[in-house]
């Protein structure tokens, strides 16, 4: 059995660890690329949302490399994601691929089902083995989240251009290659040392921008044109609102292991969107309010074209932005989005918030 799964940012690192530690052969699809997108779009329904198309491309590329078992997450609605696997399976079948598709449905009290599926994939490993493999994978997830946060903080102020990304690449390799918890702990020390040794410029008026929106477009640098890196290069400190750990918590872990934090956060969205609207629509709004309260200078809202929960969010943003006086820019992404267009809009937005910040700061002193 050759197991594969879709890409979403660095998620492949813990997933590979998990399945390999359980003795499965893993085919990691090539990182999402133009080709992935092209094949994905070619065979997907035209009006499907972007993540369906790109992940379909991942599957095809993995099947071409010999994978025969696709592991995909499911869901119970109301968003499309919960039915992705069903459509993708039909498309791949019609294309003539021979494969098995295992859909991990969110464990609403059926955590045991999930374990059973893992047992099947990994040739009946014991619960303990699954637990141990899961534990290491989870630790990697936590470290990856930490790493991404550190990198975003430092990239904006590095003295020597490109230093942070070099360290980041190296760190990903270290995490990826760690075979047990000891090695991972060692990797962590090394990474922290390396990153803290990057020389920083003293920046007094550093701009802070939050990133919110649909989870896949936030986490997958290929579809968002590596927006975090781009902003960092523009000298902006970026904070992303969602990390892989959160996705795993929401989609794969049993409910007693979920953190309470999202519920508390959702309260912030109450005046605008008081109920769950699917996906992270309500959370996007809540995060914007939270960023405004933390004194961020602006927020960028990302969503794929036709994304339902985020369209609901988008419709209330003008009000949120006004009431909390925080500039918000929405970027709608699809297969036709171009990097140059995105760069121009980013630069314009950064200019705008920079001016605004300077006005705020010097405005008080001017007496003309």
């Amino acid at each position: 059995m050759k197991v594969t799964f879709p890409h979403m940012g660095n998620l492949y690192i813990p997933l590979r660890t998990f399945f390999e530690n359980l003795g499965a052969e893993v085919v990691v699809p090539p990182l999402s690329s133009k080709r992935t997108l092209e094949i994905g779009c070619k065979y997907s329904p035209e009006f499907a949302c972007l993540p369906l198309k790109v992940t379909l491309g991942n599957f095809i590329e993995a099947l071409e490399m010999g994978a025969d078992t696709i592991v995909m997450a499911g869901g119970v609605g109301p968003c499309r994601f919960g039915y992705y696997a069903e459509v993708q399976r039909e498309i791949l079948k019609d294309l003539g691929y021979d494969f098995d598709m295992i859909v991990l449905e969110p464990p609403q009290g059926h955590f045991w089902d999930l374990i059973k599926k893992f047992k099947y994939i990994t040739n009946k490993k014991s619960f303990k083995e699954i637990y141990l493999a899961g534990k290491l994978a989870w630790k990697k997830i936590i470290l990856l989240d930490r790493l991404e946060k550190m990198v975003n903080r430092i990239r904006a102020v590095e003295l020597e251009k490109g230093k942070t990304d070099k360290a980041y690449k190296k760190a990903l390799n270290l995490i990826s290659n760690a075979r047990d918890e000891q090695e991972l702990a060692f990797a962590r020390q090394q990474i922290e040392k390396e990153i803290s040794s990057i020389k920083k410029a003293k920046e007094r008026n550093l701009l802070k921008v939050g990133l919110v929106g649909e989870i896949y477009t936030l986490l997958e640098p290929f579809v968002n044109f590596n927006i975090e890196k781009q902003l960092g290069e523009l000298g902006v400190l970026v904070e992303r609102s969602i990390y892989i750990s959160q996705w795993v918590r929401e989609n794969l872990l049993p409910s007693f292991m979920k953190s309470k934090e999202p519920e508390v956060l959702a309260k912030l969205a109450e005046p605008y969107i008081p109920c769950f609207v699917g996906g992270h629509g309500r959370e996007s709004v809540a995060q914007i309010v939270s960023y405004a309260k933390q004194g961020f200078d602006g927020v960028i809202h990302l969503l794929p074209l036709t994304c339902m929960p985020e369209i609901v969010a988008k419709s209330v943003l003008p009000m949120v932005s006004k009431i909390h006086s925080i500039p918000v820019m929405t970027l709608v992404l699809d297969e036709h989005s171009a990097e140059t267009g995105l760069r121009t809009r980013l630069e314009a937005f950064i200019d705008l918030i920079r001016e605004r910040k300077e006005e705020e700061e010097f405005g008080v002193l001017s007496w003309d």
Binding site: F47, P78, Y83, E86, D94, C275, M308, I311, V312, S315
Partner: protein, 332 residues
């Protein structure tokens, strides 16, 4: 009080219930005009850019009601079948309207959710009634009248194959209701062509949006069958063929009806799917539908995507070509 009910989205499913309920509470129900050019224009102007056409049209209906009502009725419809949803946009509908249209009258945005239990419809009625300041006794009474009549109307709709299609200014419910109380059986021509028309009720029954699709088909002597007149148990039986339960009620109705007809071998001459441009559920459901149908190739299939730019001429041409095909097949 004058309560404004937009003639859009859930109107085609729940209007009879709400109308009876509000009237039993002593209110006047004001319906927006049938969709027209101005409504569409207002919808496009006020709704958020990326919304689908039906949601935009809904915004237009709200604008149409603004000066004529004391309160607006925009329920938050979460679920109308246990374990199922409608669509994320229905979940956020009152929020979208509130932030997109200025100077709104008070809004009743009670939740309607039977996600856990079919009986929770009473909770919906209670919260509307309380918002309007009525006593629980009166609310309960109005609810009993409304739900009894609504349920028998639904049954009537299926047994007499009454499509919820408005005629002129008159609501489908008002024009059907005298008929409804007489309970006469409608005679069906035996040698007609049968076409299964699939799509969200607010697309297929909105004469403006659907460019009179149903009337056009009927004028050609075609009998139009829609999920609304197919017995629920048949739809459920059809939907059981899916590997995984479909969690959108309207999507389930579409797929369930198709599978039911395909599997029971009932004589269908054609299937039409009227989908909204940019509709999330339609993109998934339409794909499953097309794949299933193209594997069997038993029934001619026409898929029409509508958006605000759809022209009637091209639409008619495609429709006529389709009718030619199914008529030709019948003759052979």
């Amino acid at each position: 009080m004058r309560i404004g009910v937009p003639r859009a989205l859930f109107y085609y499913m729940y209007y009879p219930f709400w109308k009876i309920f509000f009237e039993a509470l002593g209110h006047e129900v004001i319906l927006s005009s049938p969709t027209n050019k101005k409504i569409l224009k207002d919808g496009l102007e006020f709704a958020v850019d990326d919304a689908c056409l039906p949601v935009k049209v809904f915004h237009g209906h709200i604008v149409d009601l603004l000066d004529r009502v004391d309160v607006l009725f925009i329920p938050r419809i979460i679920s109308i079948e246990p374990g199922e949803f409608i669509c994320p946009k229905f979940l956020g509908l009152p929020d979208m309207v509130k932030s997109s249209i200025p100077d709104l009258p008070p809004i009743i945005d009670s939740n309607l959710s039977v996600y856990k239990n079919r009986k929770d419809l009473i909770g919906h009625a209670k919260s509307i009634g309380t918002d309007l300041g009525h006593s629980s006794r009166l609310i309960l009474k109005a609810y009993t009248i409304a739900s009894t009549k609504f349920n028998s109307y639904k049954k009537f709709q299926i047994s007499h194959e009454q499509l919820p299609l408005d005629s002129g200014q008159k609501s489908f419910f008002d024009s059907n209701s005298s008929y409804f109380s007489r309970h006469k059986n409608k005679c069906l021509g035996e040698n007609t062509l049968n076409v299964l028309l699939l799509g969200h009720p607010y697309n297929i029954y909105d004469n403006y949006i659907s460019m009179n699709l149903i009337t056009k088909l009927q004028k050609n002597g075609i009998k139009v069958i829609t999920p609304e007149i197919i017995p629920v148990k048949n739809i459920s039986a059809g939907a059981k063929n899916l590997k995984k339960r479909l969690f959108w009620t309207m999507g389930k109705n579409i797929i369930g009806s198709t599978y039911y007809y395909m599997d029971c071998g009932k004589a269908l001459d054609g299937i039409i799917h009227l989908a909204s441009f940019g509709c999330g559920p339609d993109s998934i459901v339409g794909e499953l539908l097309e794949r299933k149908l193209s594997r069997n190739r038993l029934v001619p299939f026409l898929r029409i995507n509508i958006d605000e730019h759809s022209g009637e001429e091209g639409f008619n041409t495609r429709l006529e070509a389709f009718i030619d095909v199914i008529e030709g097949r019948r003759r052979n």
